[in-house]
Subunit: 447 residues, 2 copies
């Protein structure tokens, strides 16, 4: 069997897995390639907050010693873990001085499941303070060191296009996964809320908090979705990407309540994506989303999001506040102190209204194979102190709908601008299959 | 100042706190009294799964060394912690062979907040397997060693009437807190969902999982509610228990959809409670709850509860299943395997419908000062292998409404039968005040 054509670090998880499963390479050899690449690139990118090279090599050797028949389905595949997700053998510091050196001794559920599948947990990637603030780490975009990779899953996003790791884990309460994926040109999936357990991941606002994954190919997202046992169980979903003729797919280009926030690059990317899909034979339709006249406007939605999240974050961070509020960012202290005087009555209303919208949104989504919508306002901002806005993402997070970021376009400064594909709740595998079918022409003809 | 009239272990948290704050006793002296009591009683009650006497005494001494001005508001008060809530310095074994010896280097948020307030974390109390199964620990009711204390917060419930600890922590997904409180005659509070962070507490079904507290007085529940920063922020709630003339209070004796499940002891207890409150001057009204004709019937509610919880538990326990399913109870394996073939479509519908009911229930509750409803089907069953039914509790858990168990009555076998007081979401402090006013006559004239 011929060896791989270039450096191992260039491989997607699926490509590396094939070599590992065929014993064409050892885990150690693969890990050494990634570590070498990290040595070369991380001086500029700064994606990692914890990486113990010795430990990585030891774990690689341990994996190599597992007899062939006992190896897991992700045997040897390296994964970067956002530092708000606990790892038993590495510190988890939540981007917070309060948690300097903090190490639990137990993995988050997601890490435990990946480890049980044979994954190599490579290290911890940078995050903003408890994934709430909008600046902090000095992580840079691998595409331009003077631009942010976006937050709060900044390290997980930056490590991928820097070819430091093929898979990374993140979390999203507003747009902390899809937005940095868009800024850095990677595939990312925010699954349906609570179809993957967030246990062991720092809580912010449990109604919105969602675990997610980033990769350099849609096939790798599929690989991870399978490991986490995602199932649609809906007979009407397409069962395989190869079964989907593009002419069978209907795409809703939505005019969401947030449409006025889109920048020129994003408007252009959506237009281009729609045109490409139309040309490829899809039924592309402009649609007001959700198609209910009673759906709240942008201002009401933003207020509801703020009220729900702030009310829950106030509870989530009381612990840190009580232990040492001098080590908490002032914005987090203000949340705990409820400095905006949000009433419980408004919080209950916001949670209920958002709850009601989920069924409405699902019905709207069910009319199409997929929804096409922006992943970010525009290109990544200049500098590292504004990590961008979640304006385009929070609606879908709150609606609990699965979202996949498809990298394809470039903006005015040559930086990535991507698009999101969205489906109804629990249609995660269906969304992956549709995204696989659609991403072909979009990525090819995109930018 | 005169010393306490009897053994220190008899004191409520509030009484002990007064002595500790006045330096009438040391934390060590108080802890020694509790440990002595545990030595005497726990051979029969078996409430503790972990109790390190040496560690307790060391922590007591550490607390005693804290200068007076730096002591927390719960200085020296002993707390028992249900063994599904993580503690940094003690094993947390989730009642599961998979977690034998498992110890995190970090407290659950609730434990961290209590510790920051000066509490003495005494030890870990028994629970059923991951708080899901309905038998397991050999904990007995302190009122009758041949009867269950109820589950899954069995140790936390049993330790209180055994005078082993004045405060204990539990959790409730169905009725795991209120039911054992009812079986063992203790005050218990299940607050509004998510007003106290469940971070670091084993997840089962995040939409239902709620942290809660047990004590031997309503004042002690108040003490803990204050530590956790519970606030109503509703100007129309009574601001103090002493301000409430009973004639100002209206009590809804509800005919909930679960009313047909009540046993004779419970029917009698509710009747008696209503009569006592009426005699005491309250406005007592029979009410169908919620007062909406579209509210689902018992069968629909039970199905929705099952579907929501099973769908979420399937996600919550994938980790344990993947690590070693041979060490999981077969009922939990069946949840993960979705052996009941629950579809995602039904799960989404159940979650949405339950969501819609919350506002309906709040509106119904707002018509009264408080709702009076059963805490359990009847007395604690005989034997330790059936820990009772959550039939009377799950509705309120799913509606996210705060519930307080008021001990007062006895059943046919002389075992406790209690009643629940329920309020609308986020009216936690108001509910405590009303419960304080009402529990006086109910406890006095009850059993």
């Amino acid at each position: 069997m011929p060896g791989p054509p270039g450096p191992l670090y260039l491989l997607t998880a699926g490509q590396a897995l094939e070599l590992l499963q065929n014993n064409a390479i050892t885990v150690e050899k693969y890990a050494r390639s990634l570590l070498q690449r990290i040595n070369e690139r991380d001086g500029t990118v700064k994606a990692w907050v914890h990486l113990d090279r010795q430990q990585v090599l030891e774990q690689s050797k341990t994996l190599d010693h597992i007899p062939q028949g006992q190896r897991g389905p992700l045997h040897g595949i390296a994964v970067g873990v956002k530092d708000v997700i606990n790892t038993k053998d590495m510190p988890t510091q939540f981007g917070s001085p309060l948690y300097e050196g903090h190490q639990l001794g137990s993995d988050a559920s997601t890490v435990a499941i990946l480890r049980a599948a044979g994954a190599l947990i490579l290290g911890k990637t940078t995050t903003t303070e408890v994934s709430v603030t909008n600046s902090g780490p000095d992580t840079t975009s691998p595409h331009a060191p003077n631009r942010t990779p976006g937050g709060s899953s900044c390290g997980s996003a930056a490590a991928l296009p820097a070819y430091q790791v093929p898979l990374s884990l993140g979390s999203q309460t507003g747009g902390s996964l899809i937005r940095p994926a868009s800024f850095t040109r990677v595939f990312a999936m925010k699954p349906t809320h609570n179809v993957i357990s967030p246990e062991g991941q720092k809580m912010v606002s449990p109604t919105f908090d969602t675990f997610g994954v980033m990769a350099r190919s849609i096939e790798d997202l599929q690989l991870v979705a399978d490991i986490f046992g995602l199932q649609d169980g809906n007979a009407d979903d397409p069962q395989s990407a190869t079964d989907i003729p593009l002419s069978d797919l209907s795409v809703a280009v939505v005019k969401s309540p947030m449409r006025h926030r889109a920048g020129p690059g994003t408007i252009n990317a959506i237009k281009k994506a729609a045109a490409i899909l139309k040309k490829s034979g899809c039924n592309v339709e402009e649609a007001v989303f959700p198609s209910s006249s009673s759906f709240p406007d942008e201002e009401s939605l933003r207020r509801m999001q703020k009220v729900s999240m702030a009310g829950e974050a106030r509870v989530a961070f009381l612990r840190e506040y009580r232990i040492d509020k001098t080590k908490l960012d002032s914005s987090i202290c203000k949340l705990v102190e409820n400095s905006d005087n949000i009433t419980h009555q408004e919080q209950a209303q916001a949670l209920d209204t958002y709850g009601n919208l989920r069924a409405v949104a699902d019905s709207s989504a069910a009319k199409y194979s997929v929804i096409l919508t922006p992943s970010a306002v525009d290109e990544a901002p200049l500098g590292l102190h504004d990590m961008g806005s979640a304006a385009m993402n929070t609606l879908w997070t709150g609606l609990h709908m699965p979202v996949i970021n498809i990298p394809a376009f470039v903006g005015a400064h040559g930086m990535p601008i991507e698009v999101s594909l969205v489906a109804g709740r629990f249609h995660d595998q269906g969304l992956i299959r549709v995204a696989k079918a659609l991403s072909g022409p979009v990525v090819e003809e995109g930018g």
